[in-house]
C-alpha cells in the first residue's frame, strides 16, 4: 500500500474497526443487541442525521463548512408541516418543497462564499440564524401532521425477517448514501470536489470550474438538510421549528469520525455512513444500559471525536515523514 493510499484508507479502516469493536462489546453485554431489528431501528433513528451528514461530507471535502444544516432541517420540517396541515397542500408536493427551499438557501450561501469570497464559517453561521428565525416566525409551536396519505407514508415499511422492518426514511437514507458514493467517486463533480479540497489554486489552474462546483456543494448540502427535515417530519409525524438544534455539530462529528479531514481533500461518503452507524451504536448502547444518563452520549461522542482526531494527526505526521525521507 503506498503512502498516499494509506493516508486515504487508514482512517476509514480504523473507523470500521472501532465500529465493529463497539458493536461486539455491546453485543456481549446485552443479549438482544446483535439483531437485525436493533440495526434497522438504529438506521431509522439516525436516517435524518445520516442524510444531512452525506451532504455535509461534500462541503467538508472542499475544505468548507456548513453550520446551517441543523436549523435548515428545522425549517424544512416546519415548512412541510405547515403546508400539509394549514395550507392543505398534498403531502407529495409539500414534502418536496423543503428540499427546494434548502437547495435555494444553499445556493445563496454558496454564492456568497464562492463568488464573493466570504468565509464559509461566517456565512453559514448567519444561515443558521436566518433559518432558525424564519422557522420560528412560521410557527413557534410544534405542528402535528394529519393527512391520510402522510400516515400511509409514515407507516409504510418493508418487512424483513426476525421482526425487523425497513422504514421509508431508512430506504431514503440508504439511497442517499449510494447516490453520494457514486457522485463522489464516479462523477466529474466529485473529482472536482476532491481537487478543490486538495488545493483550490491548483484546481483553478487546471481549468476546473472551482467556483461553480463550490456553489453546488452548498446547494447539495442545503437540499440534504431539507430532505433531513422531511425525514424528521416523517419520523415524528410533526414539524417543529426548534428541531435540529445543535445537529450541525453531530453531523460534523459524524463526518470527522468517518475519516474525512476537515481541511478537505481526503474522505469518503462510505466513511460518513460508518460514522453515523458508530454514533447510532453509542446511542443505542447507552439506551440499552438504562442506568446511564443521556449526557454520557455527548461525553462518549466527544471522546471518540478526540480519538479520531489524534489518529488523523498521527497518520498525517507519518505521511509527512514518508514524504521528506
Amino acid at each position: 500500500m503506498s503512502r498516499a493510499s494509506l493516508k486515504e484508507k487508514l482512517p476509514i479502516l480504523i473507523t470500521a474497526s472501532v465500529l465493529v469493536l463497539l458493536t461486539l462489546a455491546a453485543g456481549l453485554r446485552f443479549d438482544n443487541f446483535l439483531s437485525l431489528r436493533v440495526l434497522m431501528n438504529l438506521i431509522a433513528d439516525n436516517a435524518f442525521l445520516g442524510v444531512i451528514a452525506v451532504g455535509l461530507t461534500f462541503v467538508i471535502l472542499t475544505g468548507g463548512i456548513d453550520l446551517s444544516v441543523g436549523s435548515m432541517m428545522g425549517l424544512g420540517g416546519i415548512v412541510a408541516a405547515e403546508l400539509i396541515t394549514v395550507s392543505h397542500v398534498h403531502p407529495l408536493i409539500a414534502l418536496l418543497v423543503p428540499i427546494a427551499v434548502g437547495g435555494f438557501l444553499g445556493w445563496g450561501q454558496g454564492t456568497l462564499i464562492a463568488k464573493l469570497g466570504l468565509p464559509p464559517f461566517l456565512v453559514t453561521l448567519s444561515g443558521l440564524f436566518l433559518c432558525r428565525g424564519i422557522a420560528l416566525a412560521i410557527s413557534r409551536e410544534s405542528v402535528q401532521i394529519e393527512h391520510p396519505f402522510f400516515r400511509t407514508l409514515t407507516n409504510w415499511s418493508v418487512s424483513l425477517p426476525a421482526k425487523a422492518s425497513l422504514s421509508l426514511g431508512s430506504i431514503v437514507f440508504i439511497l442517499v448514501v449510494f447516490g453520494g458514493m457514486i457522485l463522489a467517486r464516479q462523477s466529474r463533480f466529485g473529482r472536482t470536489v476532491y481537487a478543490i479540497g486538495g488545493n483550490a489554486n491548483s484546481a483553478e489552474l487546471m481549468g476546473l470550474p472551482v467556483r461553480r462546483t463550490l456553489v453546488w456543494t452548498y446547494v447539495l448540502s442545503g437540499m440534504c438538510a431539507g430532505l433531513g427535515g422531511v425525514l424528521f417530519a416523517l419520523y415524528t409525524s410533526s414539524g417543529n421549528a426548534i428541531s435540529g438544534t445543535g445537529l450541525e455539530l453531530d453531523a460534523i462529528a459524524t463526518v470527522v469520525i468517518g475519516g474525512t479531514l476537515l481541511s478537505g481533500g481526503y474522505g469518503s461518503v462510505l466513511g460518513t455512513l460508518l460514522g453515523v452507524l458508530t454514533l447510532g451504536v453509542v446511542q443505542t448502547a447507552i439506551t440499552f444500559m438504562g442506568t446511564l444518563s443521556s449526557w454520557w452520549t455527548r461525553i462518549v461522542i466527544g471522546t471518540l471525536l478526540l480519538f479520531f482526531m489524534l489518529v488523523q494527526k498521527v497518520i498525517e505526521l507519518a505521511a509527512r515523514r514518508g514524504q521528506t525521507t
Binding site: I65, L112, K115, L116, G117, L118, P119, F121, L122, V123, L125, S126, G127, L128, F129, L130, R132, G133, I134, L136, A137, R140, L249, D250, I252, A253, V256, L262, S263, S293, W295, W296, T297, R298, I299, I301, G302, T303, L305, L306, M309, L310, K313
Partner: protein, 337 residues
C-alpha cells in the same frame, strides 16, 4: 488619507440602530435613577451585552491568531455549574457533602474554566489540531461534563452576595458593565501596552514567519485559548448569578456564535492577523442593541435571529474586497450612462 478603522462599518450600523430608536422608540434614551442606580434601555444594552462582550474579548485574540473557539458556550455552562454547585451543594452531585462554600465559588469556577481553555490550547497549540475541530470537542462534550457535575439537575441557589455579581450596581452602574469594562481595560493593556498584541498579530498573519523572528507561536496560541476559557468562565458566572441557577443545557447556548459574530462584525478578519478589541465591543453592543430594540418595539423575538443574520452578512459584504470591487464598478459605470 487617514486609515479608516476596521470597525467603522459596525459603528455606523450601531449608530443607525440608535438613531432609529431615537426617532421611533419613545423613551429609549431616557435614564432614570432608582435605588441609587441607573435604569433605561441604554443601560440595559450595556448590561446585557456584558456576557457576550466578555466572550468577544477572549475570542478576538483567538481569532487574531487565525483560530476560533467554539467551546465558550459550553465552558460558560461548566463555570456556572461549578459555582452553583459549590454554593448550593444539592444531593447526588459531586458537590454533595461538605459545607457550602460560596467564597470558593468564584475562584474555583474561574480555575475550572481556565483548565477548559488550557485543554483547548493543548489541542490547538501542542497537538496542532484544527481550531474548529479541537474546540468542537469541548463544545460537544462540555455540556455533557456540566450535566455530569450537576447530575442532570438545574442547580438553583440563593446567595445575595453571589447574585450581586449580576444584579448589583456600583456607583449606579450595573456590576456586569464594570466587569466588562475591567476586562476590556486589562485586555487592551495586555494587547497594546505589551508585546503580546504584536505577537498575536504576527502569529495570525504568518505563523512560520513569526516562528523565524523568534516568537513562540505555540505559547501564544496556548495562552489565547486559556484566556478565552477564563473569559467564558466569567461570562458564565454573570449569567448564573443573574438567574440564580445553573442550567447545563441552556446556559450560554448559541452565545459562542454571538461572540464570533461580534468579533467579525467588529472588523477582525476570521483569517487572523489584525484585530480590534474596540471593534469587538462595538460588535457585542450592536448585537445587543438589535435584540433590545426588537424587544422594546414589541416585534416577535424570532425576527432578532433573521435580523442578526442580515446585519452580519451585510457588514461582512461591505468588508469583503470582492464585493467592494463590484460595487465600485457599478458606481463608476453609473455616471457614464
Amino acid at each position: 488619507m487617514r486609515r479608516v478603522p476596521s470597525w467603522a462599518w459596525a459603528a455606523m450600523v450601531l449608530a443607525g440602530v440608535l438613531l432609529f430608536n431615537a426617532l421611533f422608540t419613545p423613551g429609549f434614551f431616557s435614564i432614570v435613577i432608582r435605588d441609587g442606580r441607573f435604569f433605561g434601555s441604554i443601560v440595559d444594552i450595556f448590561n446585557r451585552a456584558a456576557p457576550v462582550g466578555l466572550l468577544a474579548l477572549g475570542m478576538t485574540l483567538v481569532i487574531a491568531t487565525g483560530g476560533v473557539d467554539l467551546s465558550v458556550g459550553a465552558v460558560m455552562a461548566i463555570g456556572g455549574t461549578i459555582a452553583a454547585g459549590l454554593i448550593s451543594r444539592p444531593g447526588e452531585t459531586p458537590f454533595a457533602g461538605g459545607k457550602p462554600q460560596p467564597a470558593m465559588a468564584i475562584p474555583v469556577a474561574l480555575f475550572g474554566s481556565l483548565l477548559c481553555g488550557m485543554f483547548n490550547g493543548l489541542l490547538v497549540a501542542v497537538i496542532e489540531l484544527q481550531p474548529i475541530v479541537a474546540t468542537l470537542l469541548l463544545m460537544v462534550a462540555g455540556r455533557g461534563v456540566a450535566q455530569l457535575l450537576a447530575n442532570g439537575q438545574i442547580l438553583t441557589f440563593h446567595d445575595s452576595g453571589f447574585a450581586a455579581l449580576a444584579r448589583g450596581a456600583t456607583l449606579g452602574i450595573p456590576n456586569p458593565v464594570w466587569i466588562l469594562l475591567i476586562g476590556f481595560v486589562l485586555f487592551s493593556v495586555l494587547a497594546r501596552k505589551t508585546a503580546m498584541g504584536l505577537f498575536v498579530e504576527a502569529t495570525g498573519s504568518n505563523p512560520v514567519a513569526a516562528q523565524y523572528v523568534g516568537i513562540d507561536a505555540r505559547a501564544i496560541r496556548f495562552a489565547v485559548y486559556a484566556l478565552s476559557g477564563l473569559c467564558a468562565g466569567m461570562a458564565g458566572l454573570i449569567t448564573t448569578a443573574d438567574i440564580q441557577a445553573a442550567d447545563a443545557n441552556n446556559a450560554g447556548l448559541y452565545l459562542e456564535l454571538d461572540a464570533i459574530l461580534a468579533v467579525s462584525v467588529g472588523g477582525t478578519a476570521l483569517a487572523g492577523g489584525r484585530f480590534s478589541l474596540v471593534g469587538s465591543m462595538i460588535g457585542a453592543l450592536l448585537m445587543q442593541a438589535l435584540t433590545t430594540t426588537i424587544l422594546t418595539r414589541g416585534v416577535s423575538p424570532e425576527i432578532t435571529l433573521v435580523l442578526k443574520a442580515a446585519v452580519v452578512v451585510g457588514v461582512c459584504l461591505l468588508q469583503a474586497p470582492a464585493f467592494r470591487e463590484i460595487l465600485a464598478k457599478r458606481i463608476r459605470r453609473a455616471p457614464a450612462q
